[in-house]
Symmetry: C2
Subunit: 167 residues, 2 copies
């Protein structure tokens, strides 16, 4: 691994990597935040709804139980269109979240997501997220869908929530 | 795919296949049972505890909620040793179950399992199960673990439960 934990150049635009060997996408993004703040932003439903997704998308949490064996469901609305997503939480530990994820419009496509927070020191942390699916076709279709806009706009909102003291 | 749904030779010893391209294991096993019976045997906790695992292993369900967003946990005991497993149910439909799976002794290794039941007609059904993990090393370690004994002994118990009229 060439990634140094003490990297001097912060990753402020999400690094999105397609694994060459496994149908997996890896996201990496640095924040001026502690791992605890990032964990809260991913497990508190009110905070999560304020940052997830692209600008202009309004997220309403319909169900949220961030604990081992819990589950979640939310609806994202833009331009009068609703998009529903849901999953279950396999593991919710302070530094590691493992959950399933699906868009209800494509119920047979389920991803296994793992999110963890690396302490970079000096009040900074690196978010790592990986999303695993069962085929390269499915993975590559997702990469082509324009996901990076929503991811980068979402993480920018998360960074702003932290810098404003909300998280 | 060379597998015919009207195969004349029943698959009574589980076919265990390692996907060549994706870190996935596929199981295939035929039963003299309807898809509905196989679904019940996978979702009713009392039935599930009676067949899962190798001979001599006693399974006790500690938690079981077989519905979208539910979860499960059980302990398997043999020779005074306890092995705990848990997961969450992403999807529980009559013909499709999607769930996470982990052995609590290795909490960082989480698999995404998909199980479905193909109607072969004439009171027979084919069980398909796939288990996806995020590395070939993890997948291959599991294949080397002697899993096939527990799988075949478990499915033989399931077949016996159906033929005795219990399911």
């Amino acid at each position: 691994m060439s990634t140094s934990s003490s990297a001097t150049t912060a990753i402020e635009t999400t690094r999105i990597e397609a694994d060459p060997n496994v149908p997996l996408i890896r996201l990496t993004r640095d924040f001026v935040a502690t791992p605890e703040q990032l964990f809260r932003a991913h497990t508190d439903p009110d905070l999560f709804a304020r940052w997830v997704g692209p600008d202009g998308m309004v997220t309403t949490i319909e169900h949220w139980e961030a604990s081992n064996g819990g589950s979640w469901r939310y609806v994202a609305r833009r331009d009068g269109l609703d998009f529903r997503f849901r999953g279950c939480f396999h593991d919710v530990r302070p530094n590691r979240i493992v959950q399933t994820f699906s868009f209800e419009g494509e119920p047979d496509h389920v991803a296994l997501e793992t999110i963890w927070f690396e302490d970079l020191g000096a009040g900074r942390a690196r978010l790592h997220a990986q999303s695993l699916v069962d085929s390269f076709d499915g993975r590559d279709a997702w990469l082509r869908s324009g996901m990076e806009t929503g991811i980068n706009e979402g993480y920018a909102k998360l960074a702003a929530l932290v810098s404003s003291g909300t998280v």
